[in-house]
Structure formats: structure tokens, C-alpha cells
Symmetry: C2
Subunit: 131 residues, 2 copies
DNA sequence: GTGCATTGAATGCGCGTGCATCTACTGTTC
DNA sequence: GAACAGTAGATGCACGCGCATTCAATGCAC
């Protein structure tokens, strides 16, 4: 069945591009900004939405992270002073997460690195000089 | 710069499809066959090549795994009786890895699961009856 | 109000990973 | 043959992850 081969090929391609790029991103973000990929992605989600929803589950749902992984990621970010967790008064089970000023700054810096790696390793659209 | 947005979008798409599919694969392979994704990918690499090269570095180079991760993966597979490690007499640093019969069988079974998950979660081409 | 299922988030645990290091072997130079 | 750089693979270690569980707060039934 040739469909099987097509599927496998497609998956291999996905697997390969993801892993290559993710590895580069991981290293670049870690070395340059002391952020894991999940850290960065989380910060990134927080910049897009200014509103103060009960982020935790909200964030988790639009990310690839499990609930527990997100919980620890936010804890890490809070320890680093990049985000702030505040209890939600309406529903005291919920937790708001928001960027701090240092967090916003860190994300801004890391964004450059992030984009640079993507530009270098994502299959280019039109390129003006890939390696 | 709109290229930035395009890059980010492209990356988000990749990130999302990869993680969704990988998570499903991981669970399906683990639940159904007691294999991690890396286990499966390793077995899969071993079925394609019949020759007895010094696999370790060879395998590693065509996979997304680091040398150490592959080393442990193979150790795991050997512990489970699915592959066999033999020293290379020409160069006693090298290690041959080859499938055992149970390994071939296990891969065969797992392959069905693997394909089923891909068929269900990869953006389809044309389908003549998925799942 | 009391009891109970449900939900939001945190945490114990085991595991797979990459990095750095270590051990063993090889090939080269003298 | 001795010394040494290089290579193949294994291992110590720290860490992020998912799963299952736990704890707190909520909402519903009575």
C-alpha cells in the first residue's frame, strides 16, 4: 500500500525538521538567554494577550505542554522573576500569570535569537542568502 | 517585517503538528507495544538495512537522537531482547546492532499502530478508508 | 449547612534526553 | 615499542516531561 509509504515519508520529514530546528532553538535560547524552548513559548503566549484571564489552563490549552509541565514552567519563570502569579479572587482555584517588566524585556531579546534560528533553519520562502 | 510573522507562523504550525502527532504516537506505541517513539524509530531503522555495519554511529547519524540517547535506547532494546549488540572484530571500539526475531516481530506489530496514528493525524492526501 | 463530585493547579515519581566526561581501542609518529 | 591524538561507545549528572495523585476551592444535591 503506497499510502503507507507516503505517510511514513511525511512523518519522517516532519520528525526531522522539527528535531533539527528544536535542537538549534533550544541551544540558542539556553546559551543566549537562559530560557528553555517551553520558557520562551510561554513568554511568547503572554505577550500576545494582554487580558488577565486565568491563564494556567488557558495557556495550557493553546500550547503543546501538559498541565503539569506548564505549572513547572511558570514556576521556573516566576523564580527567575519573568512572570508573576496572582490568585484569582473570583475563583480562588484559578491562577493568573502575567509578564513582569524583566520578563517582557527578556522575551524581546530572545525574540531576535528565535527569529534568527528560524530564518536559518526553516525551509525558506525567498532567500537572500542562506548558508 | 512580515517575513518574521511568516516564520513564526510556519514554526508554530510545525511545533503544533509535531507535538500532537508525537504525543499520540508515544501513547499508542507505549500502551500497545511497550515501545517509546525512539525505540520504534530505532527498530524501524534496523529493518531497512540488512547489512552489518557498525551501527551505533551509523544509526545516530541518520536519526534525530544524540549519541548518548541512542546508546541508552539500544541498551533498553537489548534488555527487552529486541536487538542484539555484538562487538565488531575489525574495530573493537565499534558495536554492531541487529534485530532479533522477537524484535522483528515487535516492530511488525507496532508498525500497524504507527501507521494508524499517522493516518489519523497527518494532514491526509486522499484517503480510501482511514481507520 | 453537610456531603460529594468536579475542577484548577501543584507535586511525587520514574523516565528519556543532552552534555560532559570517561574508558577502551585505533592509528600515527618517533 | 612508547607516547599521543583521535574515535566509538558507555555513563554520571541535571533537567524537563507526562502520568497519577494530592490539595484546595467550587457547585450541586439534599
Amino acid at each position: 500500500m503506497e499510502t503507507d509509504l507516503a505517510l511514513t515519508d511525511q512523518w519522517r520529514a516532519l520528525l526531522s525538521s522539527y528535531n533539527v530546528i528544536a535542537a538549534h532553538l533550544e541551544r540558542a535560547l539556553q546559551d543566549g538567554h537562559e530560557l528553555t524552548l517551553s520558557d520562551y513559548e510561554t513568554l511568547d503566549r503572554l505577550t500576545s494577550r494582554e487580558c488577565d484571564k486565568r491563564r494556567m489552563q488557558d495557556l495550557a490549552s493553546e500550547m503543546y505542554l501538559s498541565q503539569s509541565a506548564l505549572s513547572r514552567t511558570v514556576a521556573r519563570l516566576e523564580r527567575a522573576g519573568l512572570v508573576q502569579r496572582t490568585l484569582c479572587q473570583d475563583d480562588r482555584r484559578g491562577v493568573f500569570v502575567q509578564l513582569t517588566s524583566p520578563g517582557r524585556r527578556r522575551h524581546d531579546e530572545a525574540r531576535m535569537t528565535h527569529l534568527a534560528v528560524l530564518a536559518e533553519h526553516l525551509p525558506a520562502h525567498d532567500d537572500t542568502g542562506s548558508d
